[in-house]
Amino acid sequence: MSGRVLVGVKRVIDYAVKIRVKPDNSSVVTDGVKHSMNPFCEIAVEEAVKLKEKKLIKEVVAVSCGPQQAQETIRTALAMGADRGIHVQVAGKDYESMGPLQVSKIMAALAKKEDAQLVILGKQAIDDDCNQTGQMTAALLDWPQGTFASEVALEGDKIKVVREIDGGLETIRINTPAVITADLRLNTPRYATLPNIMKAKKKKIANMKPEDLGVDLTSRLEVLRVDEPPQREAGVKVETVEDLVGKLKDAGRV
C-alpha cells in the first residue's frame, strides 16, 4: 500500500457569517465576506494527520478545487500537518457552476494519479449541503465507501468504520483503497499554531488544471433563483380555546 491519503478541503463562507442574498437573487454575497475551511473538511484533515502521527499512513496530501484563494485553505491544511498540497485551478463561470459531480471526477482522477490508499472528505459542505462528493468519488473509482464516519480504525488491509445513522451507530468493515467521509464526532480538529503556520509556508503546493486530469467541468445543473427563507411573522395571542379553534378554521387548517 502506498500509505498516501488524499484529503479534500473546500473554501466556504465562514460558519459564523450572516449570509445575505444578492439583490438579483442569483446567488449569495461572497465579496468581502470571511471565508474559511469547511468545518467537516477540518475534521477530515485532523483524522488524516492523526493516522500519520500513529504511523499508520505515510503521507497526507491536501487537495482543493477553486480560484487563487483556495491556496489559503490548502495552507491551513498544511499548518494542521498535511505534507503537501494540490491546487486544481477552477475560476470564473466554471467555479460558479462547479458542484459535487465535477469535484468527484477531479478527486477520482487524482486518487488514481497519486496512487492513494485512502480518500478522506468532509461529509458535506456547509454552503451547498449536498453530501454527494464522497459517494460520487467512490462510485467513479469503484471503491468501497464509509460515510458519516464517527470512528475510523485501520486493520491491516481493511478499515473498520463506525457510521452515524438515524437509528444510532452502524459498524462496517471495508476493503482498501476506500473513500471515507467525516462526520461531526469523528474528532476535534487542532488549532493551527504559529510555528506550524510558518513551517507550512515552506511545504509545496502543486498547481494543475482540470484538463490536465482529463476532467470535463460541464455542469448539468442550472441555478434558477436563490431566495432567503421567508421572514418569520409575529404570532397571535388568543384568549380562549374557542378563539383558537375559530382562527384555525379561518386559516383552513382545521
Binding site: 465562514d14 474559511s36 475551511m37 488549532y191 504559529l194 510555528p195 506550524n196
Partner: protein, 496 residues
C-alpha cells in the same frame, strides 16, 4: 445594608467616607409618560424594530447571572453602529435618561440592573471583528463579539485571546468589568490586554482612549485613559470597540492533577512553582468539599483532599522540563497521585472535575442556587484565609465548596443556598461580608474578578478609603456630571 455586625469604628469611617463624597444631583426614577416623545426619536435613529418596550425584552435586559433581582429598564434600544450609539446617548443626555450598556448579561454583580429605570443600550447587533493585524498580534472588536466567537474567528491564524471567564462573555463587557480567567497567572487579565477603547460618553461624545486606530504594544503617552475605563462597569461611558492583545496558540499542552495533605501544602507548592520560574498556564485549587462534590457529580474517584489542577503550555521540549520541575516540587510538599496527560481527550478527562465545579456544587443540594464569592489576597495569606473561611462555613452551617485561581491568590467560595429560605440568605450575606473583610484585613481586595456592581459598593469604600473614593467620585462627576451612566453602581450615592 446591614449594620448589625459592623464595629462602631467601621461605621464612623464609613460615615466619613460618605461625607467626603460630593453632592451629585440625584436622578429620580424615570416616569413612564416622560418617555413617549423620546421613543419615537429613538426609533428614527435605529429603526422601528430596534426599540423595544415589551415586558419580556425589558426583563431580559434587567438582570444578569447574579442573584440580584431583576431591575428592568423602561426601554431597550439595539443600535447598529457607534454613530447610532452617540445619537441615542445625546438624546438620553438632553432628556436626563439613565443609560445602561448591555453586552451578554453574564455579569455576576448585578451590574446591568436599571435601579433608576432608563434606557438599556443592548449592543449585540454591533458584532463585527474589525482590523485583525496578525503580525502585530492585535485585533479590534465590537461589543457583540464574545470571547469564544473571537477565538473561532482566529482559529486559522495561530492566534488566540486567552482571557477566559466562565461565561462566553462580550469582550467589551469583559473590558468594562476588568474580567479575568483561569490563565491570568500566565496571560494576565483584561487590564493587561486592552490596548485601546472607543467609548461613547453620556453626552454622545466619542473618544478613543489611546488615540484613534492606535495600537502600539506599549506607550507612555498621557494619562492612562484606557485603564480608567477598564473596570468602570458602564459608569463612565459606553464601550463600543476594544483593541485587544493576542497571543500565539500554544504548540502543545500538558494537564496534570495532584492531591495534597493540606491547603498549606498546596499553596506552598504553588509559590515554589512560580518561584522556580515555571511559566505555568493554569493552576487551580479545589478544596476537599469541592473534590467530594465533583467525585459525586462526575463519578470520579479523586482522593477527597485539597487538590491542584495544573496546565502547562509550550513546545514539546519545554513541557517535559516544566512538568518534571513541577512534579519534584509537589512531591517535596507531600503531594501525591501526580497524574499528567498530553492527549486532548485525556487532558479533558483529567480536568473534567474542575470544568464541572459549578454544576457539582449546585448538585450538592438540588433545587438550590449558588453564589460565588470572589476575594483575592497576596499568595502568602491564602492558606490562612481559606482555613478561616472553611471554619466560618462550618460554624454557620453553610455549604461552600471552594475553587480558586491559586496562582493569583484569588478563590471562589460557591455558597449553595435555597432561594426560598430568607434566614439562610441572610446568613450567607453576613458570611460574604465577613469573608470580604477578612480579605481586606490581609491586604487583599473584596473582588478579584467579578467587579463591584450593586453589592460591593460599601466594601469598596472600606477597601479604598475615603480619599481614593473621593478621587473616584470626582472623576465620575467630571465625566458624567448628570450621573446618567449606569447609576447606582460602583460608588454609593451621596444621599445614603
Amino acid at each position: 445594608m446591614l449594620h448589625g455586625l459592623i464595629s462602631s469604628r467601621r461605621v464612623v469611617s464609613h460615615w466619613h467616607c460618605l461625607q467626603q463624597c460630593r453632592n451629585v444631583a440625584s436622578i429620580t426614577t424615570v416616569k413612564s409618560g416622560a418617555l413617549d416623545d423620546v421613543i419615537s426619536a429613538f426609533r428614527s435613529i435605529c429603526g422601528e424594530d430596534y426599540v423595544s418596550l415589551s415586558d419580556a425584552v425589558r426583563e431580559q435586559h434587567g438582570k444578569d447571572e447574579s442573584m440580584h433581582r431583576c431591575r428592568p429598564p423602561n426601554v431597550v434600544v439595539f443600535p447598529h453602529c457607534v454613530e447610532e450609539v452617540s445619537a441615542l446617548a445625546k438624546l438620553c443626555y438632553s432628556h436626563n435618561l439613565p443609560i445602561i450598556p448591555f453586552g451578554t448579561g453574564t455579569g455576576l454583580e448585578g451590574g446591568v440592573g436599571a435601579v433608576k429605570g432608563g434606557v438599556c443600550f443592548s449592543l449585540r447587533n454591533m458584532d463585527q471583528v474589525l482590523d485583525l493585524h496578525q503580525e502585530d498580534f492585535d485585533v479590534t472588536v465590537e461589543p457583540g463579539v464574545t470571547r469564544k466567537a473571537l477565538n473561532a474567528y482566529l482559529r486559522e491564524t495561530g492566534l488566540w485571546f486567552p482571557v477566559d471567564p466562565g461565561a462566553d462573555a462580550s469582550l467589551c463587557g469583559m473590558a468594562a468589568t476588568s474580567a479575568s480567567g483561569t490563565n491570568a497567572v500566565r496571560y494576565g487579565t483584561m487590564r493587561e490586554n486592552v490596548l485601546n477603547l472607543e467609548v461613547v460618553m453620556a453626552d454622545g461624545t466619542v473618544i478613543h482612549t489611546a488615540g484613534k486606530g492606535r495600537r502600539p504594544r506599549k506607550t507612555s503617552a498621557g494619562y492612562n485613559l484606557t485603564n480608567l475605563f477598564v473596570g468602570s462597569e458602564g459608569t463612565l461611558g459606553i464601550i463600543t470597540k476594544t483593541t485587544l492583545r493576542l497571543y500565539g496558540v500554544p504548540e502543545a499542552m500538558v494537564s496534570a492533577v495532584c492531591s495534597f495533605p493540606s491547603v498549606q501544602a498546596a499553596v506552598d507548592s504553588t509559590v515554589q512553582i512560580l518561584q522556580a520560574g515555571v511559566p505555568i498556564a493554569r493552576i487551580e485549587f479545589l478544596d476537599d468539599v469541592m473534590i467530594d462534590a465533583c467525585n459525586r457529580f462526575s463519578s470520579l474517584s479523586y482522593p477527597v483532599t485539597p487538590t491542584l489542577f495544573l496546565e502547562f503550555h509550550g513546545s514539546e521540549k519545554s513541557l517535559e522540563e516544566q512538568v518534571s520541575t513541577t512534579e519534584e516540587i509537589t512531591q517535596s510538599n507531600g503531594g501525591a497521585d501526580f497524574k499528567w496527560a498530553t492527549d486532548t481527550e485525556e487532558r479533558n478527562r483529567l480536568w473534567k472535575a474542575r470544568h464541572d465545579a459549578w454544576y457539582a456544587a449546585l448538585a450538592l443540594q438540588p433545587g438550590c442556587k449558588a453564589y460565588a464569592t470572589d476575594v483575592c489576597v497576596p499568595l502568602s495569606r491564602l492558606p490562612q484565609i481559606i482555613v478561616e473561611t472553611k471554619e466560618d462555613l462550618i460554624q454557620n452551617k453553610l455549604t461552600g465548596p471552594i475553587a480558586g485561581h491559586v496562582g493569583d491568590g484569588n478563590f471562589h467560595c460557591l455558597v449553595v443556598l435555597d432561594p426560598n429560605d430568607q434566614e439562610e440568605q441572610h446568613r450567607v450575606h453576613l458570611f460574604t461580608e465577613r469573608l470580604a473583610r477578612r480579605a481586606l484585613a490581609m491586604d487583599g481586595t473584596c473582588t478579584g474578578e467579578h467587579g463591584v456592581g450593586l453589592g460591593k459598593r460599601a466594601l469598596l469604600c472600606e477597601e479604598m478609603g475615603p480619599m481614593a473614593i473621593q478621587v473616584m467620585q470626582g472623576l465620575k462627576d467630571t465625566l458624567d456630571p448628570k450621573n446618567l451612566m449606569n447609576p447606582g453602581k460602583i460608588l454609593l450615592p451621596a444621599e445614603l
